[in-house]
């Protein structure tokens, strides 16, 4: 089936995909890929793992799509599956520290090697700080900061009250600030 992509609304695509149309599902994946990858990447802190989690998330979504109500928010539903898939991938993987390859979150426009190094360390520090958070707090923070979801939406995705979302966010941010403050002090000592 040839898709008239601009004309097809998301609801149409969902209904076509629910009826087994793989092309329609491919278009949905294309539309939500960036958002899902952004979330799983921050959950996993490893591009390889994040890719596995994204693959798993979209496969689960395909299998469960018939049970999805087309008028509901597909993005939030996908984020929920993505968070679960990322946590499953992390649980299956043995504990490892971030490698140099995983910390390749650097700007290509960095002016000099020292700045590159600092940016690289900073990116790794942020990833390590995120990874050190408990799963519940990390999921909440990732959905807020990288998924751009409102408190109400996060509460729906994680199936918790809004009050819990608020306290988890508060905890995650307080904890992140503490961790990053320590690593910032360490970096200052190293480069002083």
């Amino acid at each position: 089936m040839v898709l008239t992509q601009t004309a097809d609304t998301e609801i149409d695509l969902i209904e076509q995909a629910q009826n087994g149309d793989r092309n329609a599902y491919g278009e949905l994946v294309r539309r939500h890929y960036q958002g899902v990858v952004r979330v799983v990447l921050r959950m996993c802190a490893d591009p390889g793992l994040a890719e596995d989690a994204a693959q798993e998330a979209f496969t689960r979504a395909w299998l469960n799509l018939p049970s999805f109500e087309p008028r509901a928010c597909l993005r939030n539903w996908l984020y929920r599956i993505a968070i679960n898939a990322a946590l499953d991938v992390l649980r299956r993987k043995p504990e490892e520290s971030l490698t140099d390859e995983q910390g390749q979150m650097i700007s290509e426009n960095a002016p000099d090697p020292e700045t590159i190094l600092i940016e690289k360390e900073q990116a790794m520090d942020i990833q390590l700080a995120l990874q050190s958070l408990p799963e519940a707090a990390r999921s909440t923070l990732v959905l807020r900061e990288y998924g751009g979801l409102s408190y109400q939406e996060i509460a729906g995705v994680l199936e918790v009250p809004v009050g819990t979302v608020m306290s988890r966010l508060n905890y995650a941010r307080t904890r992140l600030r503490e961790i990053l403050m320590v690593s910032h002090a360490r970096m200052e000592n190293e480069y002083a």
């Binding site: 693959q55 299998l63 469960n64 109500e69 990116a123 900061e145 508060n170 941010r173």
Partner: protein
């Protein structure tokens, strides 16, 4: 700083405070240096997280191609649209409808009975059963003639009983028919609206 104030500051930062709470927070921030500094810290952290460049991942097109190759066939009879629970409001609405229906039937029955007793309906009320004769009763009276004198009270009693049951049955049939129609309508309505937002499903 008080925990509740921390929560409110986070909510303010995320644009989640509205109305009176928002005004109260703005008023508080205008006079409280500690909270203003705390808000700046939270804002800096958020900016740091947002500015943190993401690692390179494979382009969407390549990802979709890979995904499509490995996408499993859906198992027939696998996860399907769940039938949502009966909407909460439908139960009291159904009960109210049933109550109205019963009340209407009783009221109409009362009116017809009164009209029949007072003779207002004349012969039009024969269907209610009063004075009706079964075919077998008429045939028996015609056949026996004057000899039916002895057995007439017993036959009359039997006639009344059979007429009563026949009317009761036809009345019940009417009501049962209407009830079935009503239930069928409810069921159709329910099936047509049963596709609820499903963040559900075994997706964990």
């Amino acid at each position: 700083m008080h925990e509740e104030l921390h929560l409110q500051l986070n909510a303010y930062l995320d644009g989640e405070l509205h109305g009176r709470n928002l005004k109260a927070m703005q008023a508080h921030l205008a006079v409280c240096d500690i909270c203003r500094n705390e808000l700046d810290e939270l804002r800096r952290l958020s900016e740091l997280l947002q500015a943190d460049p993401a690692a390179e991942t494979i382009p969407a097109e390549r990802f979709v191609s890979q995904l499509m190759l490995g996408l499993p066939r859906r198992i027939p009879g696998g996860p399907s649209r769940p039938h949502s629970a009966l909407p909460g409001w439908l139960v009291p609405a159904g009960l109210l409808g049933t109550w109205c229906f019963i009340q209407t039937v009783f009221a109409l029955t009362g009116v017809f009975t009164l009209a029949d007793i007072t003779g207002l309906l004349g012969r039009a009320a024969l269907w209610l059963g009063t004075g009706q004769e079964s075919i077998w009763f008429s045939a028996a009276v015609n056949l026996l003639g004057g000899k039916a004198f002895v057995t007439l009270p017993a036959l009359s009693l039997l006639n009344n009983v059979s007429v009563f049951w026949a009317n009761l049955f036809s009345g019940f049939l009417w009501q049962a028919g209407i009830s079935v129609f009503y239930c069928a309508w409810l069921l159709i309505w329910w099936f047509r609206h049963s596709r609820r937002p499903a963040m559900l499903g075994n997706v964990s």
